[in-house]
Amino acid sequence: MDITLQAQELHYLTLSQRQYSHEQESMQNPNHHHQQHQITTSQTLESIDPSASGKWAEKLLKECAKAISEKDSGKIHHFLWMLNELASPYGDCDQKLAYYFLQAFFCKATESGERCYKTLISVAEKSHSFESARKVILKFQEVSPWTTFGHVASNGAILEAMDGEAKLHIIDISSTYCTQWPTLLEALATRNDDTPHLRLTVVVTAGTGGSVMKEIGQRMEKFARLMGVPFEFNVVSGFSRLGELKEEDFGVRDDEAVAVNCIGALRKVSVIERSSFIRMLHRLRPKVVTVVEEEADFTSNLDEFIACSEECLRFYSIFFEMLEESFVPTSNERLMLERESSRSILSVLACEGEGGGECERREKGSQWCERLTGDFSPMSFNDDGVDDVKALLRRYRAGWALLPAQGTDASGLYLTWKDEPVVWASAWKPS
């Protein structure tokens, strides 16, 4: 760290400390407090010239998280104030992270997380149409392999596991609006042997309107007709938590080969229900279960605010940076993805338990491996599958790479962004 930076940091910390002692003294006089607060804060802010020292958001947010877990009201006020001055959802990464984490921290400190989350969700639902949501997904897939990685890997595993089967039933628990399936349908249609019959059952979590699924279903049916694949489309909805689902809900038939496709699905299951959910999947007697999850851990640190916020910050810094480098600066789609992330951040940091609606408690690949082992054993991706993924990555900008899971109990494939594992894809068969 260069000297100017160190000096700035010292300056900033000294001022902060001076301000704290001021606050102790002036507790009796609220007006004086405010004035001092303002003057000192603006001096402090100047010493953080964001154009000079990058990554100021990380430092400030960490200090703020510490203050919140220590319940130090004066410090909390101070840091929230500073974040409020510097943050903007329309600026650079630091400004964005500051803005969205500020919201989460504020809700945490004022215990208004659930209320805020509910409002945000209802606003998002009201303002998103099928068209707009689909546009975001497609644009994201165009500029980044973040979601397509999992699709390609899973399709490869599914095709391998279902080779030779005449009747396929894919149970799809994901939120990418069936953008995964056209390629699979094409592959099925161009197989050397007879084209199998495909049933696709899509599990719809709360928030996706009925009209959306109808639209998707019609499109899929049309496409399958064009491909010449006998096709059936079903929707499972009407439940409030994924953990409520039972094997009967899927209508699995005896003569079918079942594949369960979980893309970002397991993290949506309440933490306490995860084991039983996996057992339920086992009872479906699937030929293969594909699991794709983002590489972050918001579960093991459920009760440790500092650890959880640091992990949140680590993950979303990478994600936001990736978004910034993948999209044009004025992209509406990127803005939607950032706002979606902000709801996740709020849910993880400011909502108690899972009362805040959809769970977003991610776990890392190694943690999912532990959960799945026992009921399931890992299937490795065949060479063709891996080649497909490699080919996929080549069509995006530099920075993306493939990393097989290492270690004895580890399995699956990681997508890495600038050498950081970000998405984990795996395939499992019942043991």
Binding site: D49, W81, E85, Y90, E186
Partner: protein, 499 residues
């Protein structure tokens, strides 16, 4: 240093990508609209509000506006640019057939489906966008009312909604404005919740980015040049046949204005005068740098030049720091902006002006209610003002234009935040600079025909079909967009001078 009187390059027109569409929201006060610029709407609202100004904040009701059918004046309706899919395949590797199939898999699926659908025309899209934008403005105003009566909870709820929906990259100017205003109001509400008032941003915060955005604004918009050139013209006239001149710039920033004046002074038939410049600003290092640049420039033109930096705001300056010499002709210049508080204490600045007794004061002001007014009044004035600027930018630059975004985010967002901030307003009603100057006995000098010519020449540098308008009245020159005046230039002289 870049010479500010150079012609700027032709503006590049960039086609916007497909419109961002969201389902229109329903609001209490529905408005009848055809697609018009939001500046028209704001004119209408501003008029309504000034008529209702006797009402206290409690009595202010949106319902009084809700049943109005606003008919736009007979002005040309500017169709938005053709929406065109801007994404192209060029950065995807040609690769082998297998790879292409993967991409085509999703895309052809998409295309096939879309071909069977009836895509709505661009005009309809545009109309829908404006509806959306104007609905957002309505909600924004309701939110401002909530803030003005300290109903922070209600305001917060509305802001949660606004900040989730409005996008600053939208094709709709109204929506862009709402995005930034909502963000500024959220900052203010958050500050209040944290138990304090909001203050204006410090001039030392993120300076480089701000100044760069200011320069970009100077390139894509005529307002700054208008300010510079009309002021320079008045100063030139005041310096007629004077050999010792002293220019005092109350907030010099990077001194973009002065090279043009130096050039003209250097080519005077009677030869250049000796030029002294006193420059005020908050960062001494920045002032020194500006001084270096200007000195170099003056030297190259053969002008004998002295530069005095004063690292203070004019309202904080000890008058002794500003040295005036006998026999020199003094010009004081001030271009108002809201990037930060450049002046400090208003009445002290006035007193400084009285003491200096300049031959000419060139003043360029933003047409907004003074900072010490009521929040709601300031809000409406600011909304009107900035909507107009956003409209003017949107008329020439596409919604994806990076320069436009830079100006909107770094400059205009900063100004909006400052204008909506509390503070600085401990002063008694300060009725605006022109009013104060009159009150203190300064005499207004009508803007000359030459200044008008200068203004016209500047506008000719920008594509003629766009709606910039110059208005003349009360001895001032005002540059605006369509019917809304934005920057007003006026010239004053000190009452103590006999000449």
């Amino acid at each position: 240093m870049k010479r500010s009187f150079e012609m700027h390059g032709t503006l590049e027109l960039i086609h916007p990508s497909e419109q961002w569409d969201c389902a229109p929201m329903s609001f209490k006060a529905a408005r009848q609209y055809t697609g018009v610029d939001i500046s028209d709407f704001m004119e209408h609202v501003a008029r309504q509000l000034s008529e209702n100004s006797e009402n206290t904040a409690d009595g202010f009701s949106m319902e009084s506006l809700s049943n109005e059918t606003f008919t736009p004046s007979n002005r040309e309706y500017h169709p938005r640019k053709q929406a065109r899919t801007y994404y192209n395949n060029s950065d995807i590797d040609g690769g082998n057939a297998e790879e292409l199939q993967w991409i085509n898999g999703t895309q052809s699926y998409d295309n096939m489906i879309n071909m069977t659908k009836n895509k709505s025309g661009d005009h309809h899209h545009h109309h829908q966008n404006d509806q959306q934008g104007l609905s957002l403005i309505t909600l924004l105003m309701e939110c401002a009312v909530a803030i003005s009566v300290d109903n922070l909870e209600e305001a917060n709820k509305m802001l949660l909604e606004l900040t989730q929906i409005a996008s600053p990259y939208s094709a709709s100017c109204a929506e862009r404005v709402v995005a930034y205003f909502a963000k500024a109001m959220a900052r203010r509400v958050m500050s209040s919740c944290l138990g304090g008032g909001t203050i204006m941003y410090s001039p030392l915060l993120q300076t480089k980015a701000i100044l760069s955005a200011f320069q970009t604004f100077n390139t894509i918009s005529p307002f700054i040049k208008f300010a510079h050139f009309t002021a320079n013209q008045a100063i030139l006239e005041a310096f007629h046949q004077r050999d010792r001149v002293h220019i005092i710039d109350l907030d010099i920033m990077q001194g973009l204005q002065w090279p043009a004046l130096f050039h003209i002074l250097a080519t005077r038939p009677e030869g250049p005068p000796h030029v002294r410049m006193t420059a005020m600003g908050t960062s001494y290092e920045a002032l020194e740098e500006t001084g270096r640049q200007l000195s170099g420039f003056a030297r190259r033109l053969g002008i004998s030049f002295e530069f005095h930096p004063v690292g203070r705001k004019p309202g904080e300056v000890d008058p002794a720091m500003v040295q005036t010499r006998r026999g020199e002709t003094i010009a004081v210049h001030w271009l108002q902006h809201s990037l930060y508080d450049a002046i400090g204490v208003n009445w002290k600045t006035m007193r400084l002006l009285e003491m200096i007794a300049p031959r000419v004061i060139t003043l360029v002001e933003q047409e907004m209610p003074p900072h010490s007014g009521q929040f709601l009044e300031r809000f409406v004035g600011a909304l009107h003002y900035y909507s107009t600027i956003f409209d003017s930018l949107g008329a020439t630059l596409g919604c994806e234009d990076v320069n436009r975004h830079k100006v909107e985010h770094w400059m205009l967002e900063r100004e909006i935040n400052n204008v909506l901030a509390v503070g600085g307003g401990e002063e008694e009603m300060f009725g605006g600079w022109r009013t104060e100057l009159v009150r203190r006995g300064f005499a207004q000098v009508p803007m000359s025909g030459n200044s008008m010519t200068q203004a016209q020449l500047i506008l000719n540098m920008f594509p003629a079909m766009h709606g910039y308008t110059i208005q003349q009245g009360d001895g001032t020159l005002r540059l605006g967009w369509k019917e809304t005046g934005l920057y007003t230039a006026s010239v004053w002289t000190s009452p103590r001078l006999m000449r």
